[in-house]
C-alpha cells in the first residue's frame, strides 16, 4: 500500500490531536495528590487474631458488610466454627458467614472454637501474580487492593487465592475483596472489623511501627498463618490456631 505524504500528515495529525486531547482530559480528571499526613512508606499493614478470644458473635462480619457495602451472599470477612472430634474429620460450619452469629453447637463435648477469616494481605500474593492487567496489586503499605475501574472480571485471581477471600461483585462485575478498610486506616482509624470486635480478638497491626503490639505478640506467642505451605507471605497471624484449621 503506497501512502502519499499528504496521507501520512493527515493520519499523523489526527493521531496527535487524539493523543493531546486524551492527555488534557487526563490532567483535568486526574486524581488529587495523596494527603500529606499519611505516608505509605511508613506503614506495612497486617492483622493479628487471637483464636481464644473469638466468641463467634459475627459483629465483624456485620460491621464489614455495612462499612463496605458488601453484597448479600458474599463475604470480605467471615467466621468459621470448628468442632473437632478425636479421630474424626472436624465439623466445620459458617452459617451465612456468621453474619448473625451461630446457632447453638449441638455437641458440647468436643473441642470447638471460632476462626475469623479475611484476606491475608499476602506479601507474595498469588492473586496479584496472576492478574493479567494489573487491576489487583499490593500497595506500597502492604494492602492488596483491587482497581475497580481496571478489573476485567476474568476471575483468575479468585481461582488463585488459596484462602477463598475474593468474589465477583454481582452488580459491579469486578472482583471485590477485603481492602483492610484502606479508606479508614489511611486516616488513622482502625478497620471496621477490629473496631467492632467486642473481645479484641482481631487487631490491626503495623509492622513498621516499632511500638506496635504485633512485635511482642509474635515474639511471645505460638503463631501461625493459614496454609503456610503455600508460601504466600500472609500477614494475618493467628495465635493458638489448631491444626485442624484449613
Amino acid at each position: 500500500m503506497d501512502l502519499s505524504r499528504r496521507d501520512i500528515f493527515k493520519i499523523g495529525g489526527k493521531l496527535l490531536l487524539l493523543a493531546s486531547a486524551g492527555a488534557t482530559l487526563e490532567e483535568i480528571l486526574g486524581a488529587a495528590p495523596p494527603s500529606e499526613a499519611y505516608r505509605m512508606a511508613d506503614h506495612w499493614w497486617g492483622m493479628i487474631i487471637d483464636i481464644d478470644k473469638c466468641i463467634g458473635c459475627g459483629s465483624c462480619v456485620r460491621a464489614c458488610a455495612q462499612e463496605n457495602q458488601v453484597p448479600a451472599g458474599f463475604f470480605r470477612t467471615w467466621v468459621e466454627r470448628y468442632q473437632v472430634e478425636e479421630g474424626k474429620q472436624p465439623l466445620v460450619d459458617s452459617p451465612n458467614g456468621a453474619m448473625d452469629g451461630f446457632p447453638p453447637s449441638k455437641r458440647t463435648d468436643l473441642k470447638s472454637f471460632f476462626v475469623p477469616k479475611l484476606c491475608n494481605q499476602c506479601a507474595s500474593s498469588p492473586c496479584v501474580q496472576v492478574c493479567p492487567v494489573g487491576a489487583t496489586f499490593v500497595s506500597p503499605d502492604g494492602v492488596v487492593l483491587v482497581d475497580e475501574t481496571y478489573c476485567l472480571g476474568c476471575r483468575y485471581c479468585v481461582q488463585a487465592c488459596p484462602y477463598g477471600c475474593r468474589y465477583l461483585h454481582p452488580q459491579k462485575r469486578t472482583v471485590d475483596k477485603c481492602t483492610l478498610c484502606y479508606h479508614r486506616i489511611t486516616k488513622g482509624l482502625t478497620t471496621a472489623c477490629c473496631e467492632n470486635c467486642p473481645t479484641g480478638a482481631r487487631q490491626l497491626v503495623d509492622f513498621k511501627n516499632p511500638e506496635d503490639p504485633v512485635h511482642e505478640f509474635l515474639r511471645n506467642n505460638k503463631v501461625e498463618v493459614l496454609k503456610p505451605y503455600m508460601a504466600t507471605g500472609a500477614k494475618v497471624y493467628y495465635k493458638d490456631l489448631d491444626g485442624a484449621v484449613r
Binding site: 451472599g73 466445620v92 458467614g97 498469588p126 481496571y150 476485567l152 488463585a160 477463598g164 503455600m230
Partner: protein
C-alpha cells in the same frame, strides 16, 4: 437467605467462578491445535495419505481460532476492557502472556500458512473475477501475483518453515492454557506439571477427531467419494494420540490415588458423587474407552468400508464429546 456452608468450603466459593464458558475456550483451542498438527503431518512429516484433508484442517483451525475468544469475552465481567490485556500486560501473569501467544499463532502461523496455501487460487481468482469480488481478491494477493513454478517452489519452502515453526507454536497455544490451569497452587486438582501435557494431547485428540468428522461430513455434503486411505491414516493417528492421552490421564489418576494426600479425600468424594455422571460415565467410559475400542478394533481386524466409516464417525463424535 444463604444457607451457609459446612465442611472445608469457604463461603465465597459457593458460587463457582470458572464455569462452562471458560471450559469452552480450552476445548476450542484444543481443536485448533489438533487440527493444525494434522495439517502439519502432511507438510512436515510427508504423510501423503492425509493430503486431502490439508486445507480442511487449516481452515478448521482458523475458523475455531477466530471463534475462540468469544466465550471468554462473554465470561468477562467487563469485556469492553479486554484490550487492557494487550495495553498493560502483567508480565507475571500467564493469562496476559497468553494474549500474545494467541496473537502470534493467529497472525504468523495460521494466516500466513493459509495465505501461502491458497495463494495460487487467490491470484487466479483475482485475474478471472470482476466487480467487488475482484477487489477483494486483489487485496488478498497482497501485491504478489507471481505464480510461476519457481514462485510456487518458494511458496512451498516458506510454508514448510512456517509449519515447522507452527508445530511448537500449536503446542504452546494449547499447552499454555494447561499452564494457566496447572500453575494455580490454590487448586490441588489442577496444580500439576502434567497439566500442559495432558491439555496438549487431549487437544490433539479432539482436533484430529474433529477433522475426521468434518471431512466425512463435507464429503457427504459435496457428494464426493471418501479417500479411504486418508481416512484410515487419520484414524490411525487418532488412535495413537488417544492412547498417549489416556495413559497420561490414567497416570495422573493412579498416582493421585496411590499417594492419597490430603486433597485426595475431597477429590475422591467429588468424583464418586457430583462428578460421577460427567467424569466417570461420560468422559472415561463413553468418551474415551468406547472410541479407543472402536479405533483399536480397526487396527487389529479389517472391516468393510462402510463398517469402518461408521466406526470412525462414531469414534470421532464420541471423542469430541
Amino acid at each position: 437467605m444463604i444457607p451457609g456452608v459446612d465442611g472445608f468450603i469457604y463461603p465465597n466459593e459457593v458460587e463457582l467462578q470458572w464455569g462452562l464458558l471458560v471450559v469452552l475456550y480450552p476445548y476450542i483451542t484444543g481443536l485448533v491445535a489438533g487440527a493444525f498438527i494434522l495439517a502439519s503431518l502432511e507438510r512436515v512429516f510427508k504423510v501423503e495419505a492425509v493430503r486431502p484433508t490439508y486445507r480442511l484442517a487449516l481452515l478448521t483451525a482458523l475458523a475455531f481460532l477466530l471463534v475462540a475468544p468469544l466465550p471468554l469475552q462473554l465470561h468477562l465481567g467487563h469485556p469492553e476492557r479486554s484490550l487492557e490485556m494487550y495495553l498493560t500486560p502483567h508480565r507475571s501473569s500467564a493469562m496476559a502472556m497468553f494474549g500474545f501467544v494467541y496473537l502470534w499463532y493467529l497472525m504468523v502461523v495460521l494466516l500466513l500458512e493459509i495465505w501461502l496455501e491458497y495463494r495460487a487460487d487467490i491470484v487466479r481468482l483475482a485475474q478471472t473475477t470482476t466487480g467487488w469480488q475482484r477487489l477483494v481478491y486483489k487485496l488478498l494477493t497482497l501485491g504478489s501475483e507471481n505464480v510461476s513454478p519457481e514462485a510456487r517452489r518458494i511458496d512451498d519452502k516458506v510454508s514448510y518453515i512456517v509449519t515447522v515453526i507452527g508445530i511448537p507454536s500449536a503446542f504452546l497455544l494449547h499447552g499454555y492454557v494447561g499452564f494457566i490451569f496447572g500453575s494455580i497452587k490454590a487448586n490441588p486438582w489442577w496444580s500439576s506439571p502434567l497439566m500442559p501435557i495432558v491439555f496438549l494431547f487431549s487437544a490433539m485428540v479432539s482436533g484430529i477427531a474433529a477433522v475426521l468428522a468434518l471431512y466425512m461430513a463435507f464429503m457427504k455434503v459435496k457428494k464426493m467419494p471418501l479417500d479411504m486411505g486418508c481416512l484410515d491414516t487419520i484414524a490411525k493417528y487418532l488412535f495413537y494420540t488417544f492412547v498417549i492421552d489416556f495413559s497420561l490421564e490414567m497416570l495422573d489418576l493412579v498416582q493421585r490415588t496411590y499417594e492419597a494426600d490430603e486433597s485426595f479425600r475431597t477429590l475422591d468424594f467429588m468424583v464418586h458423587t457430583r462428578l460421577w455422571g460427567s467424569q466417570v460415565i461420560l468422559q472415561i467410559c463413553v468418551g474415551t474407552l468406547l472410541p479407543l475400542a472402536l479405533l483399536a478394533a480397526n487396527q487389529l481386524w479389517r472391516f468393510s468400508v462402510s463398517r469402518r466409516k461408521a466406526m470412525y464417525l462414531a469414534a470421532s463424535l464420541l471423542t469430541m464429546m
